[in-house]
Each structure stands twice: as C-alpha cells, then as structure tokens.
Subunit: 494 residues, 2 copies
Amino acid sequence: MLKEFPLGREVDRPSAESAVEAYREKLSAQQLQLKEKKLPVIILIEGWGAAGKGSLIGRLIRYLDPRFYNVCTRSVPSDEELRKPFLWHYFTKIPQNGKIVIFDSGWMEETVRSVESKELGKKKLTERLEGIRIFERQLVENGYLVVKLFLHISRDEQKKRLEELEEDKNTDWRVSKADWRQNDHYDKQLKRFDKYLEATNEPWAPWNIVDATNRKEAELAAFRIVTEAIDAALAQRPGSVPLPHPERFPVLRMPQLAKVSLDKTVRSEEDYRAQLKSAQKRLRQLHNVLYRKKIPLVIVYEGWDAAGKGGNIKRLAAALDPRGAEVHPIAAPESFELSRHYLWRFWTRLPKTGHVAIFDRSWYGRVMVERLEGLCSEADWKRAYYEMNEFERELVRWGAIVVKFWIHIDPNTQLERFTERQNTPEKQWKITAEDWRNREKWPEYEKAINEMLRKTSTEFAPWYIVESKDKRYARLKALNIVIRAIEDRIREDD
Amino acid sequence: MLKEFPLGREVDRPSAESAVEAYREKLSAQQLQLKEKKLPVIILIEGWGAAGKGSLIGRLIRYLDPRFYNVCTRSVPSDEELRKPFLWHYFTKIPQNGKIVIFDSGWMEETVRSVESKELGKKKLTERLEGIRIFERQLVENGYLVVKLFLHISRDEQKKRLEELEEDKNTDWRVSKADWRQNDHYDKQLKRFDKYLEATNEPWAPWNIVDATNRKEAELAAFRIVTEAIDAALAQRPGSVPLPHPERFPVLRMPQLAKVSLDKTVRSEEDYRAQLKSAQKRLRQLHNVLYRKKIPLVIVYEGWDAAGKGGNIKRLAAALDPRGAEVHPIAAPESFELSRHYLWRFWTRLPKTGHVAIFDRSWYGRVMVERLEGLCSEADWKRAYYEMNEFERELVRWGAIVVKFWIHIDPNTQLERFTERQNTPEKQWKITAEDWRNREKWPEYEKAINEMLRKTSTEFAPWYIVESKDKRYARLKALNIVIRAIEDRIREDD
C-alpha cells in the first residue's frame, strides 16, 4: 500500500488553513453527538518515526473538550507490561461510550518492531495478525468506531526531520536509535509496514495512508478522515457493518446437564482430609513450577447459586502462593465498566505470566444472566460465544492454561441449601431475594447453560462439570483437574 | 526494638495447633463484621528475607473468603512505577470499605532498601519517614485499620532457610542477592530496621514484632494480633483514636473573594490572539524542558459554574504535548471510589515525572460540595484542609510543581452565562438543574471557598485567583502563571 503511494504533492496553503478551521469546528460539534449517541471512538495514529504523529494529535485535540478524549502513548513497555498478553496494553485502554481515545502509535508499531527484532517468527506473526483483526472486529461489532491512520514520509524527509530534532537539546531525546535504524533501512522497513497494512486492512477498520510531507496538508487529511468516519458511524444503525462470519472453533462433546449423575461422593471425612491435604500439597509445588516457567493460569468458576463455588475456590486458593494468585469475584458491573466492551473488565484482571487468576463468575455472565435478564441484545449474546472462544484462544496463544468449571447441583439440593442459609444467622448474607428469583428460572438457565457448554468447550479451554452435591467430592475433583492441567502442560514443555 | 527482642522461645506445639484453629474461625467471622461495619483493613507484613512472610500470609488467608481480601506483592518496581511518587504504589492499592488488603512487605522494605543503597540521604529519609507517618495517620483518621507486623529471625536461622530454598530448583529463584547481602551484614541491617521501626511506631499504627523462628508460633502470634486489632477497631467509634495535632502549614495571605476586582480585560481581540499564540508557544517549549528534567506538573482548576474553566483548560492543554499531558475531569465519585479514602481517586490519577496532570475540579470538592451538601461529616471536611496540604507537600517533595487556580466570576456574570447556555441548543448540555440549585447557595459557597483559599494556599502549592469575567483575560493569566511557575523552578534547578 505504501510503495505506490505518491508523496509530496504541492498544496495550496491558504485554503488548507481555512478548511482545517472548518473541520475543527465540525469535530467540536461531533463530540456532543458522540456523547448523545454513546458512540466510543478509537483513533490509531501510526507512521514513520518523526512523521509528526505527536504534533498531529496535538492539532486534532486542540479544540476538543478534555472531558471527551484521552491520548495513550506507549514508550518502552515495562517488565510488568511484558508479562501481560500483547493485546492487554490496548484492550485495557479502550474508551468509554461517547469518548475518544487516540493511540499515539500502538499495536501496529509494536508488532512491526517485533518483526524487525525477530522476536516474532512466521507462525507467531500469523497468530498476532489474526489476533489484531479479531480485536478490531470485536470492537466494531460491539459498537466502537475504529479509525486508523498511517503517516507516511519519504526517506529524505525523515532524515531531515531527525537531524532537526537532534539539533535542539530539548528535543534531541525524542530521537532514538530505532528512528535512525528505520532511516538507514528505510526500504526494508517500508516492506514490513506494507505487509502489516495489507494484512490488517479490513472493511470494518480500513487503513488511511496520509501524506505527512506537508504538516498542514496532513492535518487537513486527518481531520477529513476522522470527521467523515464519525459522521458515517453516527448515521449507521448498530450491527449494520458487514462483518465476516467468524471461524467456528472445534468443540468438545459435553453432556446435557440433566444427564449428569450427582451421586458421586467422598468415602469418608478422613479420606477427604487426606486427599485434600495431598492435592493441596501437590498444587503448591506446581505453583512454583508455573512461576519458574512463567506460565499463567486462568481458572473460571461458574455454577448454580449455592452450588459451593465459594468453598471450592477457597480450597484451591489456599494451596496457591498468595503473592502470585488472585481471586476476582465478579459482581454486576459498575457504570465505568458497563460503558465499555463487556470483555474489558476481564482484560483488566488478567494475571501476569507465572501468576494465577481465579474468576468467581466470569465473562460467561454474558450468555447466562445478561441473556436471560435482557441486559444485552440477542445479537450481543449470540455473538458472545465466538467472542469468548476467541478471547480464550488469545490467552492460550499467549501461553496461558485455561480451565473452566461448571459447579453443578440439582434444584432440590439448591433448595435445601437456600433454606439452610436462610435459617443460619451467619449465612444469611449469602442469600438474597435475587437468588430466589433466579431459582424460579432454573429451566431457562439450564437451557442457556447447556448451550454455553456445547458452544464454548474448546480443546484449548475446556469446560469441566463438577458434581457438587457432595461439596467435598467437588473440591477434590476441581483440585485434581487443575493439577492435571498443569502437569500436562509442563510435560509438553519439557 | 529488635535488638532487645528475645528470639526462639520453646513452644508447646499441640496447643498452638488448636489455638490457631480457633483464631481462624474468629477471623472468618470477623470478615462479615467488617463487611457490615464497612471497616477497611490494611495488614502490612514486613520482616527479614526468608522470615516466612509469604507462607504466613498463605496461612492467614486460608479460610478467608476471597471476595473480602487481596494480597499485594511488589517485586522490583518498573520504570513506570519509579516515575510515580513513592506512596503512589501503596495509596493506589488501599482496600475498599469492608475489605482486607495484605501487603507482602511494602513501604518499610522499600524505604530500608533505599537507605541501604544510599539513594535516600539524611534529609530525604526524614521527609520519607514523615510522609509515611502521615500516610498511616490519614488512613486511620479516615476509618482504616492499619496493622503492622515485623517477622523477626536470627542470623543463623535466616542462613539456614536461604540455603534450604536454594537447594530446590523450584524455589531457588526466590533467593536474591539482596537476601544474602542482608545475611552477610545482618547487624547493620538490624540497625536500619530498628531505626525505621522506632520512627514509625505510632499509637495509631503500632508495630508488632513477631518471633518467626517457629512457624506455628509465628502464625499463632499473627492471628492473635490481627484478630485483636480487628476486634478493637470494630468496637471503636470512628474518630475516637487519639491522633496528634498535625503540623500547621504556613499559608499565604489571600484576598476575600468579594474584594477581588473583576474589571480586568484584554485590550482587543488582536491583542488576545497575539498574546495567546506567544504564551502557548512558550509553554510548548517549556513542556519539553519538563520532559527532559523529568519534572512533573500538577494543575488544579476550581471555579464557579460557568466561570470558563473548560475553555481555559483547553487553551492550556492545547499548548502541551498530548503524549505527556492528561486532563482529568472530576465528576461525582463512582461507588468503587466512594468506598475508599477520598484522596484515592486523585492518587490514582497522578502524572509520571515529566508529565502534566490537569485536574478539572479536584480534591477540593471535599471542602466545597461535599461540605455543603453534607456528603461528608464536619470532622471530615475540617480535617481535609491539612490532609490536602500534606498531600500537596508530598507531591512537591517528590519533585512536582503544583499550581491551583480559582476561576472567578460574580453572580451576575454567572446568571448571564447560564441564561445564554439555556438559550443556545449546542450549549444546553452544559447546564443542569443542579447548576441552578448550586447558584442559590452562592453565599454559603463563597464562605467555604474563602476558608479554603485561606487555609490551603501554601508556599509550595499556592492558589491563584483568576478573574474570568473576561474569559480571554483569564486564559492569558492562567497560561502566564503556569509559564512563570515552570520558569522559576527551572531557574532553581539550574
């Protein structure tokens, strides 16, 4: 895309100036429309070093109300950041509804840099690009506008600018070795850029190449692209963007919940204690191995109310080093969470490599409570099956072990436990009117859960049904599944 | 405190075991009381390397409900973290009401390490210790329980443990050079620990030295200390902790708002444009200097509704490099913010060194809207004056420039602007029923604001009253004040 792009056309400066002014006013007005229509906008500005990304952003935002936008810059990632999945840096920074986030270079720059440094081999690059296409598609499908600009300059122009920056002691730190390396190997870099641009130039998030030779002209082009894209998005009804049918993931066969036998029990209390002790001991050792090998572990707990999730998690968490494990109780989202992509609050809670995150309820709320309570549209929850599969595959490709538990009981057991909670003062806080209401919807939930288990139990992130009529049995089963999952993975690695 | 502490007493193991069990049940029950009483608890576990901090924490939380606690561990701080104020790492991690956060070593370890490495000279150490005492006092005064434990072992014991850890390949990475250095220079390190412990052993957050020679005994002691402290805090009425009268900060003389003349204007539109352009240009240059010298800049905007804060901020922000500047619009706190110390949401928004944070409204809401709308108690807002002075001094000691603007108009000007907003469709979103209600309370607000200006205009973080009847005059004035503040600081440094 870059090779054939003509650079350095002559421009008529005075008219550009007044055109920019008009666009600026337009963008100012659009802010309010974004707010009203709750449309979130992501603007990604990529380009050559010294192409003027920073100053272009400065111009774009000059008359924007600071309450409506944010600029995200990434310099060299910290060790902490490097221990998160690639997309974590970006997903965690997406805007709330009605707001604009401008990325001052981002997932393109980082990817091309990793290609250059040979950190990304061929297979990993393919996966990376696929992950990026999915990332952008998921954003657009969930109502985001994604505008991507690439600021293009020639080799000579870049050289001139780098030299200028270096002459002033207040700006010379802006010029890095990487910038000069880019200039020295301009043609190679252009090919890398081009490959990336072509691989990620999708109709729902197309690339816009901007000739950045003349600053005023680049500004004009950027304003035109951004304001037109916003206008188009404002005019569009949600879901009207034509999106490709996503990949179907091969899934594992799962039994219908009704057919799961719940008569499994532990032989005796002594037997339970002994097994629990030895399983916890084993898990404790394995956590050290995870640390050492920097393998992240993500565990999802879903299950019926009163199925014994809490106690099950406690036994598991107790065997982990608390310095490297965190339990995330997921309640109804707060307003700052609700106003973003529904996966955002899970991206923000991902563990570092070598650490464990246990989700006490999870993203699967989308296809259970949100579906049944009408908290999202039908299109939303239907789409969520593959979005969640994609999300989990991204985690697995990053290196994570993903284990998902459905803690299972039958309606009678639930009734017994509800009644016991109601009658035990120290346990009353555990039971609410909502629990009783949910209970009435058991059949609808069961149908939704069966569908969820059928559609999202992938080989890379399988569901395990954990029979929890005997809670002790369930605890041992969950512990042993986690142990096996880690052992399998370590064996592969060795 | 450590030197005279007897280590390695003999213990009667079987009774310890059952006592631990009883404490565990007690702590489990206390969780619910914490939840009910909305009491937040911070447990700081410090101690020698290999004293068993991690495994002690593992034992403390074994039967806690993961929804109620969190463990914070800090390894080597990232570059990003190092560019935040020292207390930022800890203040941003304090718990919500009703929850427990356990710090697996924290502000003590980091401070002593900096003493050891000679990063902290005498003066800086004094300031650091003062900052820590204030941090803990502010937490306690705002309803937090702070429990501090130091795990003590002898030199021989430490040596033995380090050797054991190194023998196993899954744990040998846990032993660092720093641990061995500690052991080699045990006596010196003991003196450093002791100095720290003595300097921060305050009645509102006293130290508990725990003999960690025997793990079971240490566990027992920790459970006893924690559960007793929680019991005491639950029994206490808020505000009943005896706290010292804090330091009075010397303040600058401020005029009464009523006496501020509002007739200042810019001569002409051309004059305004020319001055704006040159001031913005100057500020743009200075931002580069801030970057280079890694000086952080914090700007607070407060002012009457419709005083022109938004437009003023826009002109200032437009002159800054958006990659290093952020505007934080402060609205009513969301529930996850309300349930923490009121300064928490400002700590989380502090800039990195070399960056600029502009607060569009700020922590001063405490002594204006929160005071007048009864959103906090009288004791709360009265205490806030010195808490905010302390907060700002901490920022200045970190190296920040702090500038605070009161954007000022008179009631008639406000009425005109409200009416204009009401009558202009594009501006209607800017005016709400609440604005009209606030307007009725002008005299009360004026009284509160005068008190605020009088009590919190310190030499290190002065207030500037910006006359904004002529908004253009106000914009130039604010810009020039920021420019001067930066220039003064740079001159000092050079």
